[in-house]
């Protein structure tokens, strides 16, 4: 594991061959911190698909979200809330823009298109859960902005479930105030032809803890870019992600952790499976350990299981270290094909081939799913993955019955 100050990028294996991070292709990159940000679409040039942040994305199918007019009005949400409030706030609310700013053209397009934002707010010191269901975006291009605020000392779990038709560009700001502990789960179970570009900006104050979990299953193109700025000393982020890409799906996640303050910790673990020759996934994981982030402890990993010849998983960890005084910083990236020896072993115990395959894939992805901590949602996701793997016994609950 590299632990000396350096800037490095390991473009990982694509496709079938086994890879575990080796072959460092060291190249100077622009520091992640210097990336341009703006709330205006036209401050960003038109996207050609050659840009590093877009080159692995099917941008030709995203014209409406990158360049077109977006409907930024209110949409229907269904919420099961305890102590947390769910309200609409106007554009000029001070919280908007306080966790981050759009770093790409689609995010900026969404930013300037919205009339206001949906605020999910957990009161100071409260312990509560909140489920927000979004199922009514419809097929027309839309923009959305959400602000999640976990006030000081609160402990909460917030689940954001997205289903139905969508062509959506959105920004989600996540404010984790001093000492707050927030688990935010974002579940993408869109309809087959949906397109979704999301940027999440989390900002953690002193001693704040965020568990950020992304589950991407449904949708033609889903790109979720979660970032977390560890702004307060002692703050801690865990980013978990799980995705299952089927033929014709492109599921992309670009994670970014910025250790800005001292004694901060981050763990990023994304796991994905791909099935079908046209299945695609992308994971790019940036970690920046800034000059003031002494005592940082950071580790990121991405693992992919390729079930079908022709499916392609891109996996690129990037680590930038600007201080010498860290506890640890490491990464791992591996893309492996389905292991025939595992299949043989299970079959030699009487387990039929399709069941054996399911067992291996569910085991692989289940390591993330079981960490969500909401049994009903976990069961729902488990059944959904099992169904995608052709399990005739996994029943199909209607959309929105997840929790």
């Amino acid at each position: 594991m590299p632990s000396a100050p350096q800037t490095a990028s390991a473009p990982a294996q694509h496709g079938l061959a086994e890879h575990s991070h080796g072959g460092w292709a060291t190249r100077p990159v622009q520091s992640r911190a210097e990336r341009f940000a703006s709330s205006h679409r036209e401050d960003f040039p038109r996207v050609t698909g050659l840009e590093p942040e877009w080159r692995l994305t099917p941008v030709r199918e995203l014209g409406a979200l990158l360049d077109g007019a977006l409907d930024g009005g209110r949409y229907d949400v269904e919420a099961e809330s305890g102590l947390a409030s769910v309200t609409w706030i106007p554009r000029d609310d001070a919280r908007i823009g306080s966790a981050g700013l759009a770093e790409d053209r689609a995010a900026a397009n969404a930013w300037e298109s919205v009339e206001g934002a949906l605020l999910l707010s957990v009161p100071e010191g409260a312990e509560t859960e909140l489920v927000v269901r979004r199922a009514a975006f419809g097929p027309e291009p839309r923009a959305a902005h959400t602000v999640v605020e976990a006030r000081a000392g609160s402990r909460s779990t917030i689940v954001l479930e997205s289903t139905g038709a969508a062509q959506l560009a959105e920004n989600v700001e996540i404010l984790v105030r001093e000492g707050a502990q927030l688990t935010l789960v974002s579940v993408q179970e869109w309809d087959e032809d949906a397109r979704h570009l999301a940027s999440h900006f989390a900002r953690l104050e002193r001693d704040a803890v965020l568990r950020h979990i992304v589950v991407s299953l449904g949708g033609r193109i889903v790109r979720v870019n979660p970032s977390a700025e560890l702004a307060g000393e002692g703050s801690d982020v865990e980013m978990l992600g799980v995705y299952f890409s089927l033929d014709g799906q492109h599921l992309e996640h670009r994670t970014y952790v910025h250790h800005a303050a001292a004694h901060t910790r981050s763990r990023v673990t994304y796991k994905g499976a791909l099935q079908g020759a046209g299945a695609r996934s992308v994971w790019v994981g940036d970690v920046l350990i800034g000059p003031d982030a002494s005592g940082t402890d950071s580790y990121e990993q991405n693992r992919n299981l390729v079930l079908t010849e022709g499916a392609r998983a891109d996996s690129v960890p990037n680590l930038e270290i600007e201080t010498g005084d860290i506890v640890g910083a490491g990464h791992a990236s591996a893309t492996g094909r389905f292991d025939d020896e595992q299949l043989f072993y299970l079959q030699s115990r009487g387990i039929r081939e399709p069941d054996a395959r399911r067992l291996v894939v569910l085991g692989f992805l289940g390591e993330i799913v079981q960490r969500i901590g909401r049994p009903e949602l976990e069961r729902h996701l488990h059944a959904r993955i099992a169904r995608a793997l052709g399990d005739p016994e996994a029943q199909a609950p209607a959309a929105g019955e997840a929790s």
Partner: protein, 255 residues
């Protein structure tokens, strides 16, 4: 009473240098309740025989037959062979990340029996079998073979043997890599299963050591892909003294 019959079995594998013949006409008959030791030097084809019986896709059957009570085993898929009653304890058991031992054992038992075992009785049965093989209860929640030591993997194989109750078990070098204590525990396990179910055993080994704990009824000396000599347990004693030199001198394929 069941019978596993192997006739004139010839098997090759594809290598980078082309097709390589490994089994060159193997004849063997194992009946319920019998223990057959297959002994031979490294590279003589013992694992090839074991994997071919279990149906590993790497091995190509060039000729001959394997039947179980007259049924054509070679025509069956790997899982169908297991459900027909054939079990292979592997020389190198495979690690399966993310799949717990508990889940694996229940899934296998359900597949073999055609119905899920009753939950409470099954848990007790598993716990007893693991205890008998000195596997700590915590192994139940660990991933299959992941991070197990060599000896723990072998004991886990015998737990499976005990739980799945096959008609025939092929034990491929179950003794290798075990210290004396572990060897005794594993051997006791095999003997217990035999006493309970009366299965037939094909005990593949390089050393005679395990035969002190599991007494064979028949010994077959395996050299260069075929059975070079057969006899009773006394043949094992002679091998203990003389080694395999007598059989392999002059052949180039000593492993």
């Amino acid at each position: 009473m069941s019978e596993l019959q192997i006739r004139d079995l010839r098997v090759s594998i594809a290598t980078d240098q082309g097709t390589k013949d490994i089994l060159k006409g193997v004849d063997l008959t194992v009946r319920s309740g019998e223990t057959h030791a297959i002994m031979g030097p490294n590279g003589s084809g013992k694992s090839t025989l074991a994997y071919t019986i279990a149906g590993h896709p790497r091995y190509t059957v060039e000729g001959g037959s394997i039947t179980l009570d007259g049924e054509d085993v070679l025509a069956m898929s790997v899982d169908a062979r297991a459900r027909a009653g054939i079990f292979l304890a592997m020389q190198y058991p495979v690690e399966i990340p993310g799949v717990t031992v508990t889940n694996f054992l229940r899934t296998a038992k359900t597949a073999i029996d055609g119905a899920a075992p009753s939950i409470r009785g099954w848990r007790k049965t598993v716990a007893e079998s693991m205890a008998a093989l000195r596997m700590d209860a915590s192994f139940a929640e660990r991933n299959v073979n992941e991070g197990f030591s060599g000896g723990e993997k072998k004991r886990h194989e015998i737990v499976q043997l005990e739980l799945l109750k096959p008609k025939f078990a092929v034990l491929d070098e179950t003794d290798s890599g075990l210290d004396v204590d572990a060897l005794k525990i594993v051997s006791e396990g095999v003997n217990r299963v035999k006493a309970d179910t009366g299965l037939g055993i094909l005990l593949i080994t390089h050393y005679t050591r395990i035969l002190r704990y599991i007494r064979p009824d028949f010994v077959h000396v395996f050299v260069d892909g075929h059975v070079a000599e057969e006899g009773g347990p006394e043949l094992a004693d002679r091998l203990e003294d003389e080694g395999y030199d007598r059989y392999v001198s002059g052949t180039a394929s000593v492993g």
